[in-house]
């Protein structure tokens, strides 16, 4: 299986770190080496948050992803910061409801998904992050559906298991089915 | 038309990094305005703490020194001894002043050190993400008191003005709040008086300002002001705790 180096980026509160965590868990479910690394510090207070997620068949060297082969962005500042870092041949999934830019890069695959709008329309306003994750999954196939489902199961706290279904719904919306 | 309110010239153009509605920003203004009105910006040296207001050195346009966590009163002491005619102030949070900096605070106060301390009590460690502070209220939930501050294990809050007012070096100690415009006005008067106390070399002056941390309290800025009124004010009553400024020589 391919090695994935993801960056998830957006505003704090959008669930960016959570989406990354689901991704890492999905990798773990398939017994791959995984890592998840958030940005931290006062910059988070400024509003932006991001995390690096690696899925690999070998021990992970630096968990800090500097050249993602897949990027998920959910706001303008993050778009500006990361779009040029995507490795050639990589994927960028962009919440087009929040990001008003379009990239000119032709060496990467770009998916514009109006996730935040889709989330509102579907009555799952807080799950735009998982819609984005669904789109990412579709674009990359980073894990099997079973692994991803199991990951969601893991990440949602036992007390909130009713959310599992909603999360999965969001992923399916993002994955376009 | 005349300008009846504008940003103090003693505040720089650097945008404040504080969270929306955080009252640190209000308190900054009061300090800057007071210094400006006393025409003391040129001889002022401020000491920034470690805490959310660590970057205060970028905001005040007077000379500034950034202190290690809790040590601002010691640094202010060094500055004051070197610059006896300077207007030396510290700006400190509750963790900074009343936890790690307790000794420095108490001793600057008992020495009657001619400095002014602006003490921002927001009942939490804002900067590090909302841990219990020495001023966190009994029962208050924070990152490190997830079940509410249990006084049997985590102890009781420190009431700083009450404690310091027992010391002979304290010329002026008042607790104020910035939850309403009238209170903001009173807070400004207190801060200005503290600086005047210093200018007259009357001893140690401190103004404790009840302040909000909407982010770590998990409230909106206006809810936070309400929480302050409902919860902090009863525990930390506003008022003057020590005033020896009427004496010609202050505390000495």
């Amino acid at each position: 299986m391919k090695d994935w180096n993801f960056v998830f980026a957006g505003f704090g509160g959008q669930g960016i770190l959570f989406a990354g965590k689901v991704t890492a868990y999905a990798g773990m479910m398939e017994d791959r080496e995984v890592s998840w690394l958030p940005s931290y510090g006062p910059e988070m207070r400024g509003g932006t948050a991001n995390c690096s997620v690696c899925l690999s068949s070998r021990p992970i060297g630096s968990p800090l992803v500097l050249e993602p082969n897949a990027l998920v962005v959910m706001n303008n500042p993050s778009y500006d910061k990361f779009i040029d870092t995507v490795a050639p041949g990589g994927v960028a999934v962009i919440d087009s409801a929040l990001v008003d830019r379009k990239t000119g890069r032709e060496d990467i695959t770009v998916r514009y998904v109006p996730a935040t709008r889709l989330a509102q329309e579907n009555g799952i306003a807080k799950l735009a992050n998982l819609i984005m994750l669904g789109a990412l999954w579709k674009a990359t196939g980073f894990a099997s559906a079973e692994a991803l489902q199991a990951a969601i199961q893991k990440v949602v706290p036992p007390s909130k298991q009713e959310l599992v279904e909603l999360n999965w719904k969001a992923i399916r919306i993002g994955a376009g089915g | 038309m005349a300008t009846v309110y504008k940003k103090s010239a003693l505040l720089s153009d650097v945008p404040l990094h504080y969270c929306p509605g955080c009252t640190h920003g209000i308190i900054h203004k009061l300090v800057a305005e007071s210094l400006e009105e006393l025409d003391a910006g040129g001889k002022a040296v401020g000491v920034a703490p470690v805490g959310c207001s660590v970057l205060a050195y970028n905001y005040f346009t007077c000379d500034m020194v950034e202190a290690p966590h809790g040590r601002a009163p010691a640094i202010a002491t060094g500055l004051k001894r070197a610059l006896p005619d300077g207007m030396i102030f510290t700006y400190q949070g509750d963790g900074d002043l009343a936890a790690i900096g307790t000794a420095e605070t108490v001793h600057a106060a008992t020495r009657g050190e001619n400095i002014t301390v602006i003490f921002v009590n927001n009942a939490i460690y804002g900067m590090t993400g909302g841990q219990m502070a020495p001023t966190t209220l009994p029962g208050q939930v924070t990152q490190t008191t997830p079940y509410g501050r249990d006084v049997t294990t985590a102890g009781f809050p420190v009431r700083v003005c009450e404690m310091l007012s027992t010391l002979s070096g304290v010329a002026y100690a008042e607790r104020v709040s910035v939850d309403t415009v009238p209170n903001i006005r009173k807070a400004k008067a207190a801060i200005k008086k503290a600086f005047e106390t210093q200018a007259a070399k009357k001893g140690f002056s401190i103004v404790e300002v009840l302040s909000t941390c909407p982010t770590n309290w998990g409230l909106s800025p206006t809810e936070a002001l309400e929480w302050l009124r409902q919860n902090m004010m009863p525990y930390y009553p506003l008022g003057v705790y020590q005033d020896r400024t009427a004496n010609e020589k202050g505390v000495f």
């Binding site: 998840w36 690394l37 958030p38 500097l66 | 936890a99 307790t102 993400g129 841990q131 490190t144 249990d150």
Partner: protein, 353 residues
């Protein structure tokens, strides 16, 4: 062993300490280690343990001294500036022959510095965690799983040798999540007949102390302690090697930089350069024997660190000038890129290619 869970290094560390029998945690908040305290404050009340947020790092280390004196497994964690404040207390703990666990989740310095990962407290950790002649055991994990494993080991060795152990983590390791599984909780602890826990009128009084007014007595205790250190240096040097056996160039790196360096080694090997990685797991005792063993076949060593060059001294002291020892580092919170490390090795290889 527990099932594998994805966990932050800082939280895994806290959980590991609890499973290793720590029921007394004393801390003071500081980024990037806050999660340790947050975790402890959540768990300890539920298991009858103590989470106490001290008034300062100094108070915290002295609370550890007190609890350790009573014979329990005590712990404190902090980050660089906070560790400086603890140095007097650490020196006392070492001088009183008390075991305990101290954690430094390093950040950039000097001064207030920054809050991003760094390794610039290496010298402090290995040589001067306070005044006077003494050492502490220093463990440098490089994965979250190793954080867990070394917490257990640190307690065991600290008690075995009656000395403080330092876990040297950094912002990267503390904040990242990786899969981890936990050993079973420790249930049997060493006897501590020396503890000051109330003699119940059953034995002479125990005294925990580091004062010896007569120089020859003080010297004797120090010399005895150093005899123990010599044992430790013989028995406890730990490290991991990656492709060192045939290496022309060996990178020496620990913690976060060892991960970056491992990626670099892969790249270098792919390019036909025989690079290897020797990763010290204990920084004190430093695995000098392992390094020396490679001198015969190595063209040079490269110490890769997130600082301005500190461990490189230990590599040089081990190598004794027999082959060149070079240094590459970034500091202030900058994490080196694998490509930079590759370049640094290339530069060292220089003429050879």
């Amino acid at each position: 062993m527990s099932e594998r869970v994805l966990m932050k290094g800082n939280e895994a560390m806290a959980e590991a300490a609890i499973r290793a029998g720590c029921r007394h945690f004393f801390g003071y908040p500081i980024t990037p280690q806050t999660e340790v305290a947050a975790y402890m404050s959540k768990k300890m009340p539920k298991i009858g343990g103590t989470y106490l947020q001290a008034e300062s790092e100094i108070a915290a280390i002295n609370m550890v001294l007190g609890a350790a004196s009573a014979g329990v497994r005590a712990m404190t964690s902090s980050s660089s500036p906070g560790i400086s404040l603890k140095t007097e207390g650490i020196s006392y703990i070492a001088g009183s022959d008390l075991p305990c666990l101290i954690v430094n989740v390093e950040r950039g310095g000097p001064g207030l510095g920054g809050i991003q990962p760094a390794q610039s407290d290496y010298w402090q950790a290995t040589r001067a965690l306070g005044h006077g002649d003494f050492h502490v055991l220093v463990f440098a994990p490089s994965t979250v799983q190793e954080v867990v494993d070394l917490v257990f080991l640190a307690y065991d060795l600290a008690e075995k040798y009656r000395m403080p152990a330092l876990l040297l983590s950094d912002g990267l390791l503390g904040q990242m999540m990786e899969p981890v599984s936990f050993p079973d909780p420790v249930e049997k602890f060493a006897e501590k007949p020396w503890a000051a826990n109330g003699h119940q009128n059953k034995r002479p009084h125990n005294i925990i102390n580091s004062l010896y007014l007569k120089p020859d007595e003080l010297e004797r205790t120090v010399v005895e302690r150093f005899a123990r250190y010599a044992e430790i240096e013989a028995a406890e040097q730990r490290y991991q090697e990656y492709l060192c056996d045939d290496a022309d160039y060996i990178i020496v790196a620990f913690g976060a930089t060892s991960r970056v360096s491992q990626s670099a080694v892969d790249t270098l090997r792919a390019q036909g350069i025989k690079a290897g990685l020797l990763r010290p797991v204990t920084l004190w005792p430093f695995p000098k024997d392992a390094i020396r063993a490679h001198i015969p076949h190595v063209k040079s060593f490269l110490s890769v660190e997130m600082n301005m060059g500190q461990m490189v001294d230990d590599v040089r002291l081990a190598v004794e000038g027999k082959v060149p020892v070079e240094f590459f580092g970034r500091t202030g919170g900058v994490i080196p890129r694998p490509s930079e490390v590759v370049e640094a090795v290339m530069k060292v290889a220089g003429g050879d290619r």
